[in-house]
């Protein structure tokens, strides 16, 4: 069963949230979803860029009260 992991990187600046995501993606199984919470606006744009570059699937980016939620599915 695919799982969903929430990574709380609030308060950390670029590239902290990206690095936390990558650490968890390495441990995840293909098909799992990971959601990064970030208060760093730059990371909200940079993480999807990384996802495109390496070829995972971007599920969505939303913002709620100053917190960005970036969700990615591990595809390989």
């Amino acid at each position: 069963m695919p799982e969903k992991k929430v990574i709380d990187a609030r308060g950390s600046f670029c590239p902290g949230p990206l690095m936390e995501l990558i650490g968890w993606i390495k441990l995840a199984n293909i098909g799992d979803e990971l959601e990064v919470l970030s208060t760093d606006k730059g990371s909200a744009a940079d993480i999807p860029e990384w996802i495109r570059k390496v070829g995972h699937e971007l599920i969505g980016v939303t913002e709620d009260a100053g917190v960005w939620h970036v969700t990615v599915k591990k595809t390989k």
């Binding site: 308060g11 950390s12 600046f13 670029c14 590239p15 902290g16 990206l18 690095m19 990558i22 650490g23 390495k26 990384w50 570059k53 390496v54 070829g55």
Partner: protein
């Protein structure tokens, strides 16, 4: 995924430059690039085994950064190695001048390297200097 070679020469002892070098190394490495970092001159003192020595700010941004939750540059370099397969090489000349051997350096660094070899390996890639 297109991959390219990124070679980074680090000579600085300032927080801002060490931080930027660590950001280029870590983000470059986890984005599929072959990253090599050459640590020399004022930078090597921050990579002694167990060192948590803070690097002094060069300007107002460094002072501003000190009060924020910015990822420590040593952690970013280590993540470049662990998550992206980057290689960090201590400069053999700097080690001679500092009179230290490889045992004195952080265990996640690679073997000491001379500039001739680093430059030969850096051929055909982009070289960044901090």
């Amino acid at each position: 995924m297109a991959s390219s070679k990124i070679s980074i020469i680090v000579v600085t002892g300032s927080h801002e430059r060490l931080q930027m070098a660590a950001m280029v190394a870590s983000v470059g490495a986890v984005s599929g690039n072959e990253v090599s970092v050459f640590l020399s001159m004022n930078s090597l003192q921050y990579f002694l085994k167990g060192s948590d020595r803070p690097a002094p700010a060069e300007g107002s941004f460094g002072t501003l950064m000190a009060g924020k939750n910015v990822p420590p540059f040593r952690l970013l370099f280590e993540q470049a190695v662990d998550l992206g397969g980057a290689k960090l090489f201590p400069c053999s000349m700097a080690m001679d001048v500092m009179n230290i051997d490889a045992d004195a350096l952080a265990p996640w660094l690679g073997e000491p390297l001379g500039l001739t070899r680093f430059l030969a390996d850096a051929q055909d890639g982009q070289v960044y200097t901090f």
